[in-house]
Amino acid sequence: MTDTSVRQDSPTAPQQSAPEGGDAAPARSLGADARRQLARSPLFWVSAALISVFVLMAIWPSLFTTVSPNESILRESRSLPSSDAWFGRDFQGYDIYSRVIYGARASILVGIFTTTFTVLVGGMIGTLAAYNGGWIDGIISRITDMFFAVPFILGAILFMSALADSFTSYFGVIFKVVLALTIFGWPSLARLMRSSVLTVLPNDYIRATKALGASPWRIIRSHIIPNAMGPMIVVATINLGAYIAAEATLSFLGIGLTPPVVSWGVMINDSIVGLRTTPHMILFPSLFLSLTVLAFIMLGDAVRDAFDPKSR
């Protein structure tokens, strides 16, 4: 038995007074590291470029085309791509290029709004469930189970049919679609957030903050959320693409956006009858839809690589 592994030294001992800290590297937050990693990823730049173009299309379609999407030239109906109409014309003689550009708005709006709402609702409910635990967690978990039992698209179809006659304006319909997708999309994010909050909670820094007398709100805001957000950001980015596809599906089925509103789903639905004779009519809206979904999923992948330290 000995206690000589440590020896008392005077308070002025050199290693106490000499500040340590190694090299004078600049401060690097985990977020800054992630950004640096993103900047090096070609996947990120390609997807970011595509998304910027699509977002620009949604905001100012007139930047890309001067032709109105509703200018019908019936005698040129179903004409093939030419210098006059780059992507050809559909049954009604509409310029497909112009309609594809104008159709981006509905998809982007639905994608962005649905993602925002599912992140807010799912994140909040998931955090609440994990932080409180006990019966609150039990009830919330059972509710998410119930939502999981309903197939996503089936649920959205039921919801849209139930509200078929209300909110028929452009933004009204977009709002309905966003609402339907949010109602059936939040449970997966709530579960994800719940599990990542549960992994953050046992950390000593949470206990240390409690020991300092911090309010639950402060603990959640400045400790839990910043540390538990990562997985949700990644999944939400990937989901954004999926929501755009879901919007197109609903429009294709005729219960989402309906003519005269221009949307990729509506265009695909309109041109399905000419699938074998005039495939260009279905090709271009499908191509743009796929590219948008792909761009968001690629962005999600890049973000996941940047936020997941294990992949480095």
């Binding site: 038995m1 030294d9 001992a13 106490q16 500040p19």
Partner: protein
């Protein structure tokens, strides 16, 4: 008699064991089962014990991170376990905690300025808003870190440096009691020494009282004024550092001390090592009577039925509290407390000690004599 700052009265923490579909409570894990002690102003009380004996739970109860099942904690005569709201917030300033793992005790997404500055945001009246940054830098300097590193993130520091940040956060509000839950267990030995010395320095400068929870007996002896030994949620023995280490009367303490490796080769084979039989019983179903009777070589029938109280028992030269019916002193191994000795000049840093060197100048025993000693020990073994 020095002033009592923190007093634990018969603290009990039981965790329910739930089973079945209905989550019925089928038993209780008795993590802490009736612990009482007093902590005096400016002293260090070491709490030792093996894994699972309830040391850390005790720390959390003292910190009120968990509510006790029974018993109270008093801070300067005020009942801390019953306090709420404003009183509670005020008391939180006086009792702070330092955690074991420097890697999970700092939020990786906050800068050092935010981490050490957080106490001032929670208690805004301690330091005015404009002076907080300066105060954080002052604290960094106090714990031996470069104040210019205030904008760095925890992952840019080493384990020892992170633990210093944790200590800085703990002392930011000028507490009177600092509960240290294994503060050096996750660090390697040389860094342990630095951190322990820092804690001693801070104690001298700020008049802190420490509850130092650890499983490393040497570190506890080095830093503590008094030491409590825990076994299965109860205190087996408590007393002045010298009483517990040199004249232990509880068989468990004796066994624990005999397990400490002695770094002096001349003592090899000479020490009286007590090897206990069996494992620590489950705290969900502790033995009746004395909790140690299942593994104790002195156990009699009375130990199975009567629980020995933690009361003053003779230890040879004086008496100190011990919870054993058959308490008697037994010197486990020759030890010397070298903390008062001058540092050995042969070593570059004064805080890294020559372990087991009872002769600080290193002149008493020549190399030949040492070798001779070793051979004797060896031949003793053979015989």
């Amino acid at each position: 008699m020095p002033e009592v700052v923190l007093k634990a009265n018969d603290l009990v923490k039981h965790y329910p064991v739930k089973a079945g579909v209905l989550r019925r409570t089928v038993g209780q894990v008795k993590a802490v089962d009736g612990v009482s002690f007093e902590l005096y102003k400016g002293e260090t009380l070491g709490i030792v014990g093996e894994s699972g004996c309830g040391k850390s739970t005790l720390g959390r109860l003292l910190m009120r991170l968990e509510e006790p099942t029974a018993g109270t904690v008093e801070f300067e005569g005020q009942d801390w376990t019953a306090a709420s709201g404003r009183t509670m917030r005020k008391l939180r300033r006086d009792i702070q905690i330092v955690f074991q793992d420097p890697y999970t005790s700092l939020n990786p997404r906050m800068t050092v300025a935010d981490i050490i500055g957080e106490p001032f945001e929670i208690h805004p009246d301690v330091v005015p808003k404009g002076g907080r940054r300066a105060r954080v830098q002052e604290l960094l300097e106090l714990v031996g870190l470069n104040p210019e590193h205030i904008n760095r993130y925890p992952h840019q520091f080493s384990g020892g440096q992170r633990q210093r940040i944790g200590i800085a956060r703990g002392i930011a509000l000028n507490p009177k009691v600092l509960i240290c839950d294994e503060p050096v267990s996750a660090l390697d030995v040389s860094v342990q020494a630095q951190v322990v010395n820092l804690m001693e320095k801070l104690q001298d400068e700020l008049g802190l009282a420490y509850v130092f929870i650890a499983h490393d007996l040497s570190v506890v002896r080095h830093i503590s004024d008094r030491v409590g030994v825990m076994y299965l949620g109860k205190l087996a023995e408590i007393g002045e550092e010298d009483e517990v280490y040199s004249r232990p009367t509880h068989p468990y303490t004796q066994a624990l001390l005999s397990a400490v490796p002695v770094p002096d080769p001349t003592l090899r084979g000479k020490r009286d090592q007590i090897v206990l039989q069996g494992d620590v019983p489950s705290p969900a179903n502790p033995p009746s009577g004395c909790r140690f009777h299942t593994r104790c070589w002195k156990a009699q029938d009375v130990c199975k039925t009567d629980e020995p109280q933690l009361e003053l028992r003779a230890d040879g030269t004086g008496e100190h509290p011990s919870a054993c019916h058959f308490a008697e002193p037994r010197q486990v191994v020759e030890t010397t407390d070298v903390s008062g000795l001058a540092p050995d000049t042969r070593f570059a840093t004064p805080d890294v000690a020559d372990v087991g060197d009872e002769n600080p100048a290193g002149t008493g025993v020549t190399e030949d004599e040492r070798r001779l000693d070793d051979t004797t020990t060896e031949s003793d073994h053979l015989r």
